[in-house]
Amino acid sequence: MSRLDMAGKLEILADAAKYDASCASSGAQKRDSRGGKGIGSTTASSGICHSYTPDGRCISLLKILLTNSCIFDCHYCINRKSSNVRRARFTAKEVVDLTLSFYKRNYIEGLFLSSGIIGSPDYTMEQIVEVARSLRLDHDFRGYIHLKTIPDADPMLVEAAGRFADRVSINVELPTVPGLTKLAPEKSAPRIEGAMGQMRLAIEDSKDARRRYRHAPRFATGQSTQMIVGADDGTDRDIVGRAAHLYDRFGLRRVYYSAFSPIPDASVVLPLKRPPLQRENRLYQADWLMRFYTFTPEDVAQTTDPVTGMLPLDIDPKLAWALKFREHFPVDVNRAPKEALLRVPGLGTKAVNGILSARRVRRLRLEDVGRLTVSVKKLLPFIVCEDWRPVRLTDRADLKALVAPKPVQLDLFGA
């Protein structure tokens, strides 16, 4: 095998990392490089996407593996032991230099570092932590760092990762335990959740310490995870239920859903088809409803098909809920509480806040609502305002046909 140059290694180790959907650089503690020796800043609110690839995904962080060699043999993973992909490995210093050189040119917000398991979980975790340590302590780097932690690594090492990173994550990988057992035989759901539980405590302890002592040591502000969609037979109802459990139990910032997509040299156990992107999109919408629209996991589950357990693909879950529970509509925009407004299909959180603010000043007419939303037409069957009241529109049998988007081509990627 010929020696790989920097670009050659990067091609292998970025290719190996791209199946991890997480790319957020948000939710860090606000800081910058003034008064320091190095470079870097983070914003407390949303992160920055420095570029987009033709798959529509954002490039915010340099997302790479330290090595794609791995002692595990997870069927869905491009890096599994039995795969024939070419292997490469970065030294810690190479990753540090690459991160700084990209950051100085404003290509990235920081680093997202993961790794195949080499030697032992502890050894692998040490290598990951060393990169973050060097960036923070040798170079006073103040940009964003996201580290994958290894479930079975020594808790002291995981704690060290938390001290240098803004975010840490462990992937639960598959929505169901039988799925994990079948496709990732070396991984264990209880051990993954155990590690998440410890991380939650560490994050909360550090928040508490910072409230009391301004100079308490910094620590990661959140953790996230990822589930692969479409590799096992977990239904949308399973996935939403598992996500709700994870949010609730471990206070996760985000659950990412990654449509299983064909990988080079895939295992024969897996479906050979285009990734279910439409399904992935509906799951993100359902997730959004739980995090920002006061939907309970049960509300979302009620929009899934009773037999198949799947969310509808032709309409979004919020519209599906409204069509099923028509007795909650129409909603009076001048009187209804916030929770009721958030249930109206076509009203986003910004529009709802605009309505709540404006109606303190005067009663709203249809044209006012129109100025606060993208399209008032879709709202008509679901709202009442000063000069508008739908005529029993919600009783109509053809309501779905009136409000659902035109079925251009349901399976956008039908092969």
Binding site: R34, P54, K104, L364, R371
Partner: protein, 261 residues
């Protein structure tokens, strides 16, 4: 007609001082002409901006100031007049700011939204190239913002790259940071920055490898990264080839994974 001369297209303080004086005197919006810098006409005499002795102060809500500070950065030639019109209404009834469905509040909010996006995209898409200067290095960028945001956005880059020496050049002006002091300079042209930076090759290798050809969604990419930005972003020269090769790369992966007969 009263004519107000503002020093620069993003002269918020100038607008604020003049608007306050005019509002205290109750000058209606249609009697004010706002002029920026060189676009001077000599048809009218300058307005008298001295405040009368014992004039009542004008209190406006904080969110109006925030809105105005952003809206003045827009290229819309009517921005100063629109803001002055809103100022007069806010002076009579501060609750106007809460009425987000009000046509004028809405119109100015749309301007602010465009400014926020422009500021955000500049933070995202500025690309620095390394240039040796004596025995040090300077990082230089050429960027073309839609609006007058350069000065307002400079603080972000100072905070992020406090210990680097850098310059951001735009058609209408430039900012330079030497590690201690931020200075402003004249507009520039794209040929003022280095032609290339060797690191761009490595960045392009990353860009091509992080792309997943079986998830092609060019619409989503274009929505967030419209073509007008491409010419100043080195990695975008790969896009056409990446899209063209995507389907065959995907089919090849599927083919290679099929059990051998």
């Amino acid at each position: 007609m009263e004519v107000i001369w503002l020093e620069a297209p993003d002269d918020f303080d100038g607008w604020r001082m003049a608007a306050r004086a005019l509002a205290v005197r109750g000058v209606p919006p249609e009697d004010v002409l706002w002029q920026v810098g060189d676009e001077v006409t000599d048809l009218f005499a300058g307005a008298d901006l001295t405040l009368p002795k014992g004039a009542k102060t004008l209190n406006v809500p904080k969110d109006f100031i925030e809105l105005a500070r952003m809206a003045v950065l827009h290229r819309d030639p009517q921005r100063f007049a629109l803001l002055y019109g809103l100022l007069l209404r806010v002076g009579r009834d501060p609750r106007v700011m809460q009425d987000r469905a009000d046509p004028l509040v809405r119109r100015l909010s749309v301007l602010v939204k465009a400014i926020r996006r422009d500021i955000h995209k500049m933070r995202a898409f500025v690309r620095f190239r390394e240039m040796p200067v004596g025995n040090r290095v300077r990082y230089i960028s050429w960027f073309e913002p839609d609006h007058h945001i350069l000065r307002a956005n400079a603080g972000f880059f100072v905070g992020r790259f406090a210990n680097m020496e850098w310059s951001i050049l735009t058609p209408d002006g430039s900012v330079h940071w030497d590690g201690d002091v931020l200075t402003e300079g004249a507009g520039a042209s794209r040929s003022d920055i280095p032609d290339e930076d060797p690191t761009e090759k490595i960045w392009e290798a990353y860009y091509a490898s992080i792309f997943n050809p079986s998830r092609l969604m060019t619409g989503a990419m274009l929505r967030e990264m419209p073509k007008k930005y491409w010419k100043n972003m080195p990695e975008t020269r790969l896009i056409t080839g990446m899209i063209a090769g995507a389907r065959s790369r995907e089919l090849e992966m599927i083919e290679r994974s099929k059990p051998k007969a």
